[in-house]
Amino acid sequence: MVSGPAGGSEGRVGILVFWVFAALAVAAALVVILHRDIVRSALALIVCLGSLAVLFAQLSSPFLAALQVLLYAGAIMMLFLFVIMMLRRDQPRAPETPRLKRQAATLLAVFLWGLLTLAVGGATVPAGSAAEPLVSLPYLSRVLFFQYLYPFELISLLILTAIVGVVVLTKKRI
């Protein structure tokens, strides 16, 4: 979705899409941290990540939106659910965090949100000019594989390290 000039019916639809999915994301995030059942938390996180994917698409990054659904909502959350199913036995009900501590944390978080909003809420950026439309996948891949080739290759090294680390951690005898 390339942003047209503000206003007009397209602009209004964009604003509606933003509000709907922003509300969905915030509600799902609250369910993630408040619900006592961990499976519900995981499912709510999938909803939250999915609505963020819509916002990513709106921000002219269709590739990352697709990755968000495939990688996050698909692979990572599947891994989470897998571990939950594997580990969840009849656990004794753990005592909740004391009420006072929770209230203090909530207060602190609201303060943090206010601070961040104050810091960046009024931010404006000068509109730069991209050589090509941001939605263009060939453009992104050229930047990724020429300008950012080394970081990209380093990521593969990191993932290799992670794989080896996971095997070492979870295997009882190597």
Binding site: G14, V32, A42, L52, Q58, A105, V120, A130, L169
Partner: protein
């Protein structure tokens, strides 16, 4: 299309919710999910700036953050599984053997 500030405030809100999750919950998996939430909030900030600045680099950063998150989840879940094996509890408070 809403202005840049809307996206930034939304991302800040999601980040703050993630912070509350990390601080108040005791279940290791929920804490981990809150961290994922915070990572995604940061990604949203990156992409919002990139879109309004008309700069493709933000998408590259977002891509790298996602790859990092994937590696982090793999390692983190392996640690959780290993810890769980030893003490059969997912409560982070009970894993305090290294405490001095």
């Amino acid at each position: 299309m809403p202005p840049l500030s809307h996206y930034l405030i939304l991302a800040a809100g999601l980040f703050a919710i993630g912070v509350v999750g990390v601080v108040t919950r005791r279940n290791a998996l929920v804490i981990f999910m809150s961290v994922e939430l915070m990572l995604n909030a940061v990604n949203l900030t990156f992409l919002a700036f990139g879109h309004f600045r008309r700069h493709i680099d933000a998408q590259v950063f977002g891509f790298l953050v996602m790859a990092l998150a994937a590696a982090e989840v793999a390692i983190g879940l392996a640690i959780i599984v290993t810890v769980f094996r030893g003490r059969a509890s997912l409560q982070v408070d009970e894993a305090d053997q290294l405490r001095g």
